[in-house]
């Protein structure tokens, strides 16, 4: 019996080493461990041997059975591993550099700049207001201290409409009067300061070229409260512009004439390209003219219902205007202003997202 077992052991070892696939492994397993397998045959033979040898022989068969079983499991594990390795080795290595097929949409660059500014102003407590594109003469001019035949009307070539007394908004300032009326009551009764920005499309009758558009975007802002001062205006403009340009900007104010502010200013920022030394970008002046601003004219506050005739300085405030189209050109390096309104997707589809 012992000898038989040893023979079988050798046979199993030799056959196991020849096995290359799972199926022949299973066949081998069956030929040893199934009901009709070698181990069962040994057990049948056990009945025939003398009783005193049975114990030892039984132990031998058992340990043989365990050995076969263990080696079989081990072999199976090895084969599974081998199979996985094969799978991995045969797997394709993908090319990430292939262009992807999923289409991406795009935002208009003005939307991107506008959202960024709205976020900044929102974080500083400014409401974002909307206003119509068709306005009347009163809101666009008279309420802004620009009476009929005022030379300042020459500064803007306005698109007048065939409807009564209406025109296409030539500047976002046209919304000032309405916003003052909208929030004046809360200012006076609850002491809630008016802080608002109002982005919008503006129109001027100009011949179009790379630098001129008849349709463009501005963003105007106002702040009105009891004691708003020029000093506050400079602080605010500097803080806001530092946020916009993501650096500490140096600003300077010089007199600028706009009928709806007094005093009125042109605000320049120091040229970031030359650091103020002078370069072609800033026409060698070291400064870039960026936004007109000023203390809101007493007449404008009066027309807006903020101050009374008797106390024209009860509330004071400042206003400022930003050229969104110009900012977008600066930010994205757009050289031709026509890019914004001509709908050429080869250009616009590049503004994927922020």
């Amino acid at each position: 019996m012992k000898q038989r077992i040893n023979e079988l052991k050798e046979r199993f070892a030799s056959e196991l080493s020849k096995v290359t696939d799972k199926q022949s492994l299973e066949e081998l397993r069956l030929s040893f461990l199934s009901k009709k397998g070698q181990v069962s045959l040994l057990m049948q033979e056990l009945a025939k041997i003398p009783n005193e040898q049975k114990k030892e022989a039984g132990q031998l068969i058992n340990s043989f059975k365990q050995e076969v079983s263990a080696r079989f499991d081990q072999k199976l594990e090895e084969m599974k591993k081998l199979e996985e390795e094969c799978l991995i080795n045969s797997a394709e290595s993908y090319d990430e550099s292939l262009p992807e097929n999923i289409k991406k949409g795009s935002y208009h660059p003005i939307t991107l700049v506008q959202r960024e500014l709205e976020d900044i102003f929102g974080s500083m407590g400014f409401d974002v207001e909307d206003y119509s594109e068709i306005v009347d003469d009163y809101h666009c001019f008279e309420a802004l201290n620009i009476p009929k035949f005022h030379p300042a009307r020459d500064m803007q070539d306005t698109y007048y409409l065939s409807t009564r007394n209406q025109l296409l908004k030539s500047h976002t300032s046209a919304a000032q009067n309405s916003i003052m009326h909208k929030y004046g009551k809360l200012l006076k009764e609850n002491g809630r300061p008016i802080r608002a920005v109002f982005p919008g499309r503006c129109f001027r009758n100009e011949a179009i070229d790379a630098c001129h558009e008849n349709t463009f975007f501005q963003m105007e802002g106002i702040m009105i409260d009891k004691d708003i001062s020029i000093s506050n205006l400079i602080y605010f403009m500097k803080t806001m512009l530092s946020e916009v340009f993501e650096r500490d900007v140096t600003v300077r104010l010089r007199p600028g004439f706009f009928p709806f502010v007094e005093p009125g200013f042109e605000l320049d920022i120091q040229c970031s390209i030359c650091g103020g030394k002078g370069c072609p970008s800033c026409k060698n002046s070291g400064w870039l003219e960026l936004c007109p601003c000023g203390m809101i004219h007493p007449n404008v506050l009066k027309y807006g219902g903020i101050n009374s005739e008797e106390d024209p300085y009860e509330y004071t405030g400042f206003a400022f205007g930003l050229g969104l189209t110009r900012l977008a050109m600066m930010k994205y390096g757009v050289k031709d202003i026509r890019t914004f309104n001509e709908g050429d997707l080869r250009a616009l589809s590049q503004f994927v997202s922020r």
Binding site: E129, I134, F236, G343, S349, S353
Partner: protein, 788 residues
Amino acid sequence: MFVSMNWIKDFVDLDGCDIEQLIHRFTLSTAEVEGIEYKGKDVQSVVVGEITSCENHPDSDHLHVLKVDAGSEVFDVVCGAPNARVGIKTAFAKTGGSVCGMEIKPAKLRGVMSYGMCCSAKELGISDDHSGIMELDASLKNGTDIKDIFPIDDVIFEVDNKSLTNRPDLWGHYGIAREFAALTGNPLKELQVMENPYTGDAKVDVTIAKSDLCFRYTSVRIENITKHVSPMEMQIRLYYCGSRAINLLADITNYIMLELGQPMHAFDGKKISRIVIDTPDKPFTFTTLDGNEREITTDTLMIYDDKEPVAIAGIMGGLDSEIVDDTDTLVLESANFDGVCVRKSASRMALRTDASARYEKTLDPEMTMTAAKRFMKLLHDSDDGIRFVTGITDVYVKKYPEITVPFTKKFLDRYTGIDISSDRIEETLISLGFGIERSGDEFTIKVPSFRATKDVSMQADIVEEITRIYGYDNFEIKTTYEPLLPARRTLLKTNENSIKDCLVKRYALHEVHSRIWCDPDDLKNLGLSPENNVKLLGASEEKETGILRTSMMQCLLPFVYENRSFSDSFGIFEIGRCVYGEKSDGTADERRMLGIVLYSKEKSEKSLYMLGVDIVNTIVSELKHKSVRYTKCETDHDWQHPKNTASLSVDGKDFGVLNTLHPSTLKKIAKNCVAVCIEIDMDVFDEIASGELGFAEPSRFPAVDYDLSLVVPDGVRFEEMADCWQKDDNPELSGVSVIDIYDSASTKSITIRFSFVLDDRTLTGEEVQKRIDVIIEKLGKLGVALRV
């Protein structure tokens, strides 16, 4: 406007000042300087030279060979000037010197050596006269530097006219000198004038017939004028400031305009007997001194010699009464006209002159007298033989009221946020010509007449005067202290932002911007034309460019056309404004619209249309938690497909339209393409009340699904079938989804999966079957049957 620093220095002492620094401060305190030019920089080693010999050039028919005595030395010079001749003294540029930015070197001209160059006034940069070399006064000493004779060196700076719109006082050098006086603290010198020596009773006969348009007319008649050429100094200043020397009388009027900002006109005295300022009864044609014919309307203010028109008031004189070279008598006009009237006339005639530009700014009428006296002084300085034959006639019909403004340091401190001393306030205002009465920190300020026509009238104006001279760079900057309040968030903004995000990020559309009016050429490409709507005024008629759009599609469809080769499939959108004609009050009916166009050469029209449906459903369900009802409707526009145009509504409120394109429009875009338009009225959309999100706790028991395959007859819409399994009748129905749609020529069939669920147990098969049977029965009434 060009400003000469030499001229400024006539009125304020700037010795020892850094001129460039000063001009920079002018930008920061007064008005924007656009550029500085250093005149005479190029003119070096140019001296008085006397031509002592003039021979013809042996090898040229126009060149001469000269000997020029330049004082210390005599030079051989080849010269081509026609007026070169023995005995005249001229401007001679020596070798080593320079003119016109070029160095003078010895040179061989047609075989003859030339050492130096005789110069024209143009070559010295002081005139555009290039007719010949300069002929200088014979009494000048040979070899004298030309710059010792003429003020060629000067610093000229250009001020941006736009930044002077509100400052009539800065349209002349004297006013600008006042700014420099205030900036340096040096006094402003008095203007030299001449009083009229005439003592008799004779006057110029002046009648102002339109006292609302002519506020003051000052005049004088002067005879025996014998000089006709203005002094070189005056000519150079005029030239440097962008004007041009003509003759003595015209030059002095121009000079005074540049000096004081007061336009003047000199009439030939022989042609004028009586001056009348009036508007014509009927339109006529008038020839101005530039030789052009002008259409004069009845609201144009004119100057008449009795009944004969001689000038357009404040704009330009007439040809017939113009000063000519032999004029020996003049009638002077120093007047003040209504700025609006001048501006309207000038822009109607497209004739904006230096004079009209100044009148438009509302000039100070006080100035006419000063200007007249200054004219007499300058004319007399040049021609002391003149005879004044009338007194100064001064008709002054409208005086501006004197303006006084109460002012306090406290007000200034509040408005500026900083502390500026009362002494500083007083000093600054006095230097700018304001009258001051002061009591401690309180002031009564008298606005000078030259600032009182419209510029300065209230405390805020006074603040500007003080702060701009104080310097904004010197301001301490301070934050405000406001109550802490969140910014308001508006539905309009959040909806616009969410929709843009959805369209860009989920549907990969491209946002575009377009104009609010139609471009007829663009529409023509699509076989369309603008629809009747509100128009832009002044737009060119034949091109009809001036009609506002009635739909976003009038701009978006042309964009699709232009981009048709951009990609086989793309979509664009814009949130913009359209106009739906006029409202009942006669104003334009402006609408805020979202326009979307989907375009494809790959997809079927049906699938693109269903993508459009998907977009609308997504927007509405995400922003409003509601579902959309689609109703086929009549078309409003030529590009809409008569069959597949549907109105969109929620809660019975129409908020937009979805359509495919009319075949005639579609074929114009490209062959074998399809397109779908969506237009949503954003204001109506914003008004739709949001539904509840409607959260329901999911059941712990599994749902039972039941699939029904149905054959649907033509014309039955899904929404009609959906009425057969309304939620109210089937509380356990937790979901309905379409598993499959199969269309063939003969049948249309659909497989729908119904899911039933209960909170406390699983429904049995019999229970589900009972509910399904009810649905099948209802469907049967629509003609929908089970597929066998």
